[in-house]
Symmetry: C2
Subunit: 252 residues, 2 copies
Amino acid sequence: MGKTKNIQSVERAMQILELFEQGNQEKSVKEIAEYLDLSKSTVFGLINTLNNLGYLQQNEENAKYSLGTRILALGNAVSSANLLAQKAHPHLQKLSFDYQETCLLAVEENGFVVYIDKTESPGSISINTRIGTKKELFCTGVGKCFLAFLPPQTANNIIGLGLRKVTPNTIATKAALAEELHTIHENGYAVDREEYELGISCVAAPIFNKQGDIIASLSLTGPTGRIQSIPLSQLAASLMQTASAITKDMDI
Amino acid sequence: MGKTKNIQSVERAMQILELFEQGNQEKSVKEIAEYLDLSKSTVFGLINTLNNLGYLQQNEENAKYSLGTRILALGNAVSSANLLAQKAHPHLQKLSFDYQETCLLAVEENGFVVYIDKTESPGSISINTRIGTKKELFCTGVGKCFLAFLPPQTANNIIGLGLRKVTPNTIATKAALAEELHTIHENGYAVDREEYELGISCVAAPIFNKQGDIIASLSLTGPTGRIQSIPLSQLAASLMQTASAITKDMDI
DNA sequence: CACTTCATTCGATAATATTGAACGTCATTC
DNA sequence: GAATGACGTTCAATATTATCGAATGAAGTG
């Protein structure tokens, strides 16, 4: 596997891009050099390369840099590499439209959920989960779906990575979690009651392939009050129905 | 500007990622080495680094590589860096929903249009324009909007880059283009009659900032027959109305 | 069981990334 | 309006580091 040492300049270049991931404001060469603890000239060389290639772009006014549009092409290639995101997207859109809330799609990767798609309705409050974000499984609705429907051995390995209180509501003991997962397995959907972020709740459902393995999970997420105002049975039914429609659409 | 030489390993790493942009199938080390005409071991070093960082991922089965989810986070950061894409998205969604066709959002960059957002309706045929794609201005609906509403000097510079027949319908002479742009300027919207791709037509409208400068352009795109079945005046009105709603939402 | 094919590792080498210092430009301050 | 400072960019020297060809090992094929 990955035992060989990383190529330094490539690693640094990617670190620079990653600095823009959050609070993606323009950054100066100096700032970046300080963040990464490198000399200005080293950083300039890297930035200049990324700029020439279109992955960064320079604001002529103040000479600062921000992410370039070239990245969009790559980002898009990932999702369309993903038959899942492609086929699921319209379904998420419909859910967002019907309930006027944010809809998220996630897959499991090395013991984390990774959000790979998101739709919002014009009226919905923007949920701060960004596409590409990783979260632990035990504290999110989509994550608990994976824990409940992944092979028990796999799920236990992941749980073995550790539990912790993210909010006061997080289910952080193995016993309580086991019970919760049992319920989820019986119901076919999961509820997150402010377990990852206070004020935010969600209902999530697993997406299976034709063989019945869980391949993804989708959720409707929003401010607790508004989510609770939707009859749970109705919302859960919508999610599970959408999940199975996605399975059909994917043809795998 | 970018006069300094690019850092070789970074440039090569990005080239590798770009190989996956189209027909994003899994690729072997060997294949990539052949494409780029580099030694296998060099390519392996680069790939291994990108893999370790999450920008590529390896299929355990066949040892081949494909794009990793880490890129999604970056791609998403670009669009949310973009106030425009953020504010415009719900409006595009509504258009797609209302007309059951693909809706595209583009900005101008160095004489090209770059598509920065796209929405599709569940029923719509997938248009093969990907987010991040660059196209010349003169042969697309969104591009012609830019040529018609950019400052004449800027537009002429871009036209000076050259015209060519992309399809038999492409407007490829300066005189004909000038007339077309005049019409677009008068109407406030542009029509692409299979000028970029046979069988595909679109209607596009410019998006302005509060000062009246064009900052983007949006289009409804689809198979010619279906686009023509919508009354042009109605569709054009929808697009222009959406464009001005986006302007209001953006508050710039 | 030989024979390919390919991913991965290794070691030597030369090419290349890195660095600190220097330069030039712009803005601010006195 | 000269002087200062801040910062992006260039430069040349150096040592680190990326690169390459060859070697290894695993997996598959006849």
